[in-house]
């Protein structure tokens, strides 16, 4: 930090309240991991690229985990209250790429 900046009132946040994260499993060894492209515009393939990166990183940590692409091409097709429990029965973890 610049010496000058020490004398200022910082305009950036001191505290953060991120959204509540989903429970994380201790390990993904021998687990099924779902990869979901929820980008508003899936035809841009940005979501698939993000998921490729996530799969690669997770595979490095847990080589025995298996990864499946889960089709869910729209954001609001099904209420999260019904979709999420259904996914929880099938997968140990979901990685979701979302945005536009």
């Amino acid at each position: 930090m610049s010496g000058n900046a020490d004398r200022f009132v910082s305009p950036v946040a001191d505290t953060f309240k991120p959204g509540q994260a989903a429970a994380r499993p201790e390990s993904l060894e021998r687990s099924r991991v779902g990869l979901v492209d929820c980008m508003l515009n899936p035809s841009g393939n940005w979501g698939q690229g993000i998921l490729d990166g996530a799969e690669s990183a997770l595979h490095e940590h847990w080589p025995t985990a298996t990864f499946e692409r889960v089709p869910r091409p729209q954001v609001v097709a099904e209420p999260a209250e019904t979709w999420a429990p259904a996914m929880a029965k099938q997968y140990a973890a979901l990685v979701i790429a979302a945005g536009d």
């Binding site: 900046a5 946040a13 945005g99 536009d100």
Partner: protein, 341 residues
Amino acid sequence: MNDSALAEIEACYEMGWTDGLPVVPPTPERVEAMLGGWAPRRGEEVATLLPSGGVATVEKIAANAVMAGCLPAYLPVVVGAVQAVARPEFGLEAVLTTVHSCSPMLLVGGPVAEALEMNADTGVLGPGNRANATIGRALLLVMRNLAGAVPGGLDPATLGQPGKYSFCYAENTAISPWEPFQVEKGFRAEESTVTVYGADAPLCIAEMGRPDPESILMTVVESSLAPGSYNAFFREDLFLVMSPNHAEVIGAAGWSRADVQRFFFEQARLPAGQLRRRGLHGFAEVPDYARVVVEADADEMIPIVASPERLCLTVAGGPYGGYTAIVFGMGSSVTLPVPTA
């Protein structure tokens, strides 16, 4: 300016606190002066701002207001604006994290606009007025420093737009034939309010040859039929900043605000078949909000606002020239009262 003052400004650049323009360094003395009567509430949480989840306290907002160049009298408006963008219906996370170019626009209504000597007249959407420029800038510095909307970081806007520096105005209520905008939102004309909207850059439309309501409004309508706009897909709020000249012609013919909204709703339509081939349409699966476009016959005319009330009609600008600015955008605008210390 001496070397020390310049070094302080440079330090703010080094910290990544600025929008690219120089800022007033937020020294404790300046922040204290900005807080004024708000000082006892300095630690109060005004809002938690997505996408970063940063907590915006009164003091943090004041520090950003100092940097933007605000006078202390502007702070309540900035605090109110932060409260407004944090309301869930505004969709702050979507506005800030989209690759689209929208950014929080701020409309200040009621007596506070006059008290702060805001510009509602000639050049209203341009530079030159301290309150307009710095209040809008303060809100957007808050977006950067507290909400995390740093270009290339949590703000991935492909193009961005000049309104990401500052986009703040007041209505020209002295000339407008209609009640101020905040009355439409359930507030009294005597109440001071802030309205926020996820706005694109304004598109200024001229109509000076045909001084009758239908011609003016049809020029605006046809200019708003941009199938690649987010409005053509989401069909949410769309702002007009109508010049006094246009408003006077329309108002003098006996048209109410509701008449203008109804006319726009009925006329500003595109064929479903055209919409399906353009812009954001064309997904493999269609979200619910766009389904009306997919399910309609190809020649069915689809309004670009889902209801007349989605047209947000405001009046501002100088007395000469027949112009209306169309402000495309996304989401719903939010109007709140300006808080007091």
